[in-house]
């Protein structure tokens, strides 16, 4: 490793932030964290809170593991990672219960299930264990942003077509309903989230041929 001080936002570091948004998106390319993406994207608001929670958990855990990476005995590293993640998730859960009670009720078990979100352990094991804290932090932000983008796109379409609202504000005018428009009940159910994710993957891969596997 070079002894020269690398600038904070060198092109290599910036790539850590931007790549997960497209080329190595955790959901559409690495297909991680699908479970929660299906469950909580019925409405935009819980999706945003979920995305923020994952961001906090991933960025902080990445930094914590990266700081400890030389001290962690390899034989128990997975357990150490789990303990760090679980601690962060419990703290996020407690904070939500105190300051965003209604949303924490909507997210119910899914906050706890951030522990099992493959994105987080995947990034800890693949990146934080072998990199310095600052790049690990950026990697955490980048990957959760990639997760957040997909979550918000899916939630946008599901809330718009499923409930006719965005962030609980009615956007489809009453005149449409009077003219016979009906909310699509299917959109509210998890299978349609999978279909929307599928469409996003399709669009992304037809634009970027290098992502297509044989």
């Amino acid at each position: 490793m070079s002894t020269e001080k690398e600038p904070l936002f060198s092109s290599k570091n910036l790539k850590l932030l931007t790549e997960p948004l497209g080329k190595s998106n955790p959901i559409t390319v690495q297909v991680l964290g699908i479970c929660s993406a299906l469950a909580i994207t019925v409405k935009l608001k819980p999706s945003i809170v979920m995305a923020l929670s994952v961001t906090v958990v991933l960025a902080v855990s990445n930094v914590a593991i990266s700081l400890m990476r030389k001290m962690i005995p390899p034989r128990i590293r997975i357990i150490v990672q789990l303990v760090v993640i679980a601690t962060m998730v419990i703290m996020v859960d407690q904070v939500l219960k105190a300051y965003a009670y209604d949303i924490s009720k909507q997210l119910s078990v899914f906050v706890g299930l951030i522990i099992t979100n493959c994105i987080i352990m995947g990034r800890l094991e693949a990146f934080a264990m072998g990199n310095k804290p600052w790049p690990a932090f950026l990697d955490g932000l980048g990957n959760s942003a990639g997760y957040a983008v997909i979550l918000i796109i899916v939630a946008f379409f599901r809330e718009l077509f499923g409930s006719g609202t965005l962030l609980d504000i009615q956007v489809i005018p009453q005149a449409f309903y009077d003219a016979g428009y009906v909310n699509n009940g299917m959109m509210v159910l998890p299978p349609m989230a999978l279909v929307v994710v599928g469409i996003i993957i399709w669009v992304q891969r037809s634009r970027r041929k290098d992502l297509i596997e044989d």
């Binding site: 001290m71 005995p73 390899p74 034989r75 105190a98 009670y101």
Partner: protein, 243 residues
């Protein structure tokens, strides 16, 4: 990669779990008062919702203050009665907060909280909390009765973790609004409670509501809950209705 001795691994784990334990207990103790406040506000809001109040809670600037004010304004009296209908000197709100412990006692020994709603000029309504076991966890609710202490003027139910889309539907408007206008006592004045009927209730039957398709166990649990919790009020309701 350098190797680590077993001793190192043990010491490392010990230190790690100690730090984590201290951190988590600190956060939990710090946030507990706020979390408990949230639970109290939610219960107050549910009591108000059962009588058709506090609908603007979502738009309220400061939800906690709004709910507290509405509660103080409309819930003019609250007291606790026992199985025989006699008043007990206990705080009704505390009993409601701890309803989980209350329903573990035999019916004859429980305390039964009553909240009285009144608006200027209008007749009183009586709100009673109910709680029981659902399929996956506790379910609970608030039943508001008209001043004849027979007809239900509104019902609110909620749950800890019933199946989404099935049992979880008990907290939706369509399920709850079915209870409005139903009666707890038959014409002979006997307590019959409300039956949750699978396959469709008879609309003219004042003691039946529709069950939730696919949510049979939760529906049955709700029926049980109503019988279990409302039986204890019968003596008091009869006495109150006669006066």
């Amino acid at each position: 990669m350098r190797s680590f001795s077993n001793t190192y691994i043990f010491v490392f784990s010990l230190i790690m779990v100690t730090i984590v334990a201290v951190l988590l207990s600190f956060v939990a103790t710090q946030l507990k008062p706020i979390q408990e406040m949230n639970v109290q506000i939610e219960k107050k809001q549910d009591v108000l919702r059962s009588v058709g109040k506090a609908e603007d809670a979502a738009e309220a600037e400061d939800k906690n203050t709004y709910i507290n004010e509405e509660f103080a304004k409309y819930i003019t009296d609250s007291y606790v009665v026992d199985y025989n209908g006699n008043k007990v000197e206990t705080d009704a709100f505390q009993v409601m907060l701890d309803l989980a412990a209350e329903i573990r006692k035999p019916r004859e020994e429980r305390n039964y909280p009553v909240f009285v709603y009144s608006e200027s000029g209008g007749p009183n309504k009586y709100v009673v909390p109910v709680r029981g076991k659902g399929l996956w966890g506790p379910i609970w609710g608030y039943i508001a009765l008209d001043d004849d202490l027979n007809a239900i003027s509104g019902a609110v139910f909620d749950h800890k973790g019933e199946t989404p889309g099935l049992g979880a539907e008990i907290n939706t408007q369509w399920f709850q609004s079915d209870f409005t206008g139903k009666t707890l006592f038959n014409e002979a004045g006997e307590f019959v409670s409300i039956e949750v009927v699978k396959g469709g209730a008879v609309p003219s039957n004042p003691h039946q509501v529709d069950a939730i398709s696919g949510g049979t166990i939760t529906s049955k649990a709700l029926e049980e809950m109503l019988i279990d919790c409302l039986t204890g009020y019968v003596a008091y309701f009869k006495e109150l209705a006669n006066n």
